[in-house]
């Protein structure tokens, strides 16, 4: 017959042993709550690479990188690689990666980064959301009004087929800010010079606004627009920093590296359950870079305040 002390000892030792095993299992087992991210790049492209660098600078743990190399079709191997990794979130850099993820990996939530006009690509739904490349008209007008203090009338030339919706939106927003938008529609680049001459002849405009319209903005027409803006001492507000470098007054462009950082922030918020993709509207870039050409400002007799100059990311002197 066993003594009570021996029974207790045997039971206790077994319980203790099991407890140690459980504790060890918990300590050594992988963190079952760490979320994994599949980062898909559309192709090797400097702006995309900047965004990826910004993303990885803040979110480097549990991120597996993939590259479509510009080809979304026939990528079954890549699809298999990604799905076998069972990511909790896909971060898609660029249009191609976003569309690829939506079509081939739609079971996995996708956060896109650096997509212009996402609705045009039908990147909407419960399982997809992200950060666009678009800068709101409000923001643009607000910045330009801070540079050109008496900005009341803005002239713009556009192709209705390409940028009609932007102009429509701009008309509405400008009116709310007390700015009149005077427009001329064209259908070919050859119409740009007569359109600008008509705009200047018929109406007094305070600035010329370039929207990203490839009918209107060509190497030939840009020279004409630029030279005419000089002749009439008109602030020429461009669609990209590359134009400011060669003489336009100013431009606003998203900060690509910061877009990556912004993407990381959203990815963390999603994986921690703080936000859901379904509840996200199209998110605009947080950081916008202002480029100013002070030499142009002097040439057209425009004085820009030091406060505004200090906010500029790029200043050409």
């Amino acid at each position: 017959m066993s003594r009570p002390e021996g029974v207790f000892t045997r039971v206790w030792s077994r319980v203790a042993g099991a407890g140690i095993v459980v504790l060890l299992h918990i300590a050594l087992a992988p963190d079952i709550h760490a979320e994994s991210i599949a980062l898909i790049n559309s192709y090797d492209f400097a702006p995309y690479n900047a965004a990826i660098a910004g993303f990885l600078n803040d979110c480097s743990d549990n991120v597996v990188e993939y590259d479509l190399r510009g080809e979304a079709n026939g990528n079954s191997g890549l699809i298999q690689d990604i799905t076998s990794g069972d990511p909790d979130l896909i971060v898609a850099i660029g249009v191609l990666a976003a569309e690829f993820s939506q079509q081939e990996l739609n079971d996995t939530p996708t956060l896109y980064v650096m997509v212009p006009k996402p609705r045009a690509y039908a990147l909407t739904g419960r399982n997809i959301a992200g950060i666009s490349l678009d800068i709101s008209i409000e923001r643009q007008l607000s910045v330009y009004r801070s540079m050109v203090s008496d900005l009341k009338v803005l002239g713009v030339i556009y192709d209705p087929q390409k940028t009609g919706k932007i102009v429509e939106e701009a008309q509405r927003v400008a009116a709310l800010q007390g700015v009149a938008l005077h427009t001329r529609a064209v259908t070919s680049r050859k119409d740009v010079p007569p359109a600008l001459r008509a705009l200047l002849k018929e109406q007094q405009i305070d600035a010329l606004w370039m929207i990203p319209d490839e009918t209107v903005v060509t190497p030939e027409s840009f020279q004409f627009l630029l030279l005419t803006s000089f002749e009439h001492k008109l602030p020429f507000l461009a669609a990209s920093d590359i134009f400011v470098k060669v003489g336009a007054l100013a431009s606003l462009t998203p900060d690509y590296t910061d877009l990556g950082r912004q993407g990381c922030e959203l990815a963390r918020a999603f994986t921690s359950g703080k936000v859901s993709l379904a509840s996200m509207n199209e998110i605009l870039p947080a950081k916008i870079n202002l480029s100013i050409n002070l030499k142009t400002a002097r040439k057209i007799g425009l004085s820009i305040s030091e406060e505004v100059i200090e906010t500029a990311a790029v200043v050409y002197r």
Binding site: V95, K117, P219, E220, A239, S240, I242
Partner: protein, 401 residues
């Protein structure tokens, strides 16, 4: 030994023995050697031979001006201001905005179809330096020409016999160095039309050393040496040197970009060369010319092949009218461009000297900052016609406004 090329001998000797010497000008240096009237040896008196002062001359002189043109011709071979890279961009669908396109800076000596753009201005300052090394494939450091005895000493007058067969062979060391500082400008009148000018300032140095030696012809049966410098009026050695600096031949031109597009591009250039440079000092060719050139180029990303074909009319000497051509490419990105071309010209009714000139050009263009472009180029002969330099080096600095 003797250099028996009759063309070469005629040209060089004609330089030596021209009778129209003008001591102040470079083109009189070589003709002025040995007094400028041929080589006269010690007089022959008494004995079985007629008394005479042996006088040696070249057979013809009319190639003299061709060499003069050839010396100054390279002063005009200065690269014109390139059209530069210009500002090129494209709409990027994936970014929804415009991206700048890397475009090469264009060739150095040849042309591509691009113009610089309306209202734009390009200026260039360049330095070209070279020394002539060869004439008709012969080293200028050791030129040889054989001068002939006057045939009238012994009958018959139109034929050389006995001691008249002897020659005086002259070995010359000829140094011709040219440096040219060039200022050029191009203005874009419209997006398709450029006008431009080029003003060269040249610095020319010529130095020649000559050593003459009597050669007794093997068919001269006379056992004694009839001909000698000893006791004669001239030394077998002579030398001359001089330099000149001044304005070269000014160029004016217009370029029109006829066919402009993403693919094939065609342009035409009309270039007028004036005669503002003093030809007597080898600062200019002495001729006015008009050149018309058709240019084809096509860009494949950063690679642009080009083809030039043209005709140059010499308004002062139609025999020097020539076909001009060039083929090559330039390749590069925003900061660097490598340009290579083969350039040639062919005189349609030439006189056999410097009729066909073919050169190879290799150059690099670099954009160190802003709108500046620095160019380094070498031009090398690919054939040996005419008066040539082994390497013609050019350094240029351009700025686009």
């Amino acid at each position: 030994m003797l250099y028996s090329n009759p063309r070469f001998a005629a040209v060089v000797a004609a330089l030596m023995f021209s009778c129209n010497a003008q001591a102040d000008k470079l083109n009189t240096l070589i003709p002025g050697l040995y007094g400028g009237d041929g080589i006269t040896l010690a007089g022959v008196e008494g004995g079985p031979f007629p008394s005479h002062a042996p006088h040696f001359l070249v057979a013809t002189e009319d190639t003299f001006n061709r060499l003069n043109d050839t010396i100054s011709a390279q002063v005009g071979a200065i690269p014109f201001a390139s059209s530069g890279a210009g500002f090129a961009f494209r709409y990027d669908e994936d970014l929804g905005t415009f991206m700048q396109i890397a475009k090469s800076f264009g060739p150095v000596y040849a042309e591509r179809a691009d113009t610089i753009g309306e209202g734009r201005f390009n200026t260039m300052l360049s330095f070209t330096g070279f020394e002539y090394d060869e004439f008709l494939g012969q080293d200028l450091g050791s030129l040889e020409v054989s001068t002939l005895h006057e045939p009238e000493t012994l009958p018959p007058d139109d034929q050389r016999t006995l001691f008249e067969l002897d020659t005086v062979d002259v070995n010359m060391d000829l140094n011709i160095r040219i440096n040219a500082l060039v200022f050029a400008g191009t203005y874009g009148v419209t997006d398709r039309l450029d006008i431009g000018f080029l003003v060269p300032f040249a610095d020319v140095d010529v130095a020649v050393t000559a050593r003459a030696e009597v050669f007794k012809h093997p068919d001269n049966p006379i056992p004694v040496d009839v001909h000698t410098f000893d006791g004669g009026p001239e030394s077998p050695n002579d030398s001359a040197s001089g330099s000149a600096r001044g304005l070269g031949d000014v160029l004016l031109r217009a370029k029109y970009h006829m066919l402009k597009g993403e693919g094939n591009n065609l342009a035409t250039v009309v270039q007028i060369k004036t005669d503002t440079g003093d030809e007597k000092d080898f600062l200019g060719t002495g001729d006015k010319t008009v050149r018309a050139l058709m240019i084809y180029s096509r860009t494949f990303g950063s690679f642009t092949p080009h083809l030039n074909l043209g005709y140059e009319v010499n308004l002062d000497d139609s025999k020097q009218n020539s076909v001009e051509y060039a083929a090559g490419f330039d390749v590069g990105a925003q900061k660097w461009t490598l340009a290579m071309s083969v350039l040639g010209s062919r005189e349609i009714n030439g006189d056999g000297i410097a009729d066909t000139i073919v050169n190879g050009s290799v150059g690099i263009k670099w954009n160190p900052f802003g709108n500046y472009i620095l160019t380094a180029n070498v031009l090398m002969p690919l054939n040996d016609d005419g008066l040539r330099s082994d390497v013609i080096s050019t350094l240029a600095l351009e700025r686009n406004f």
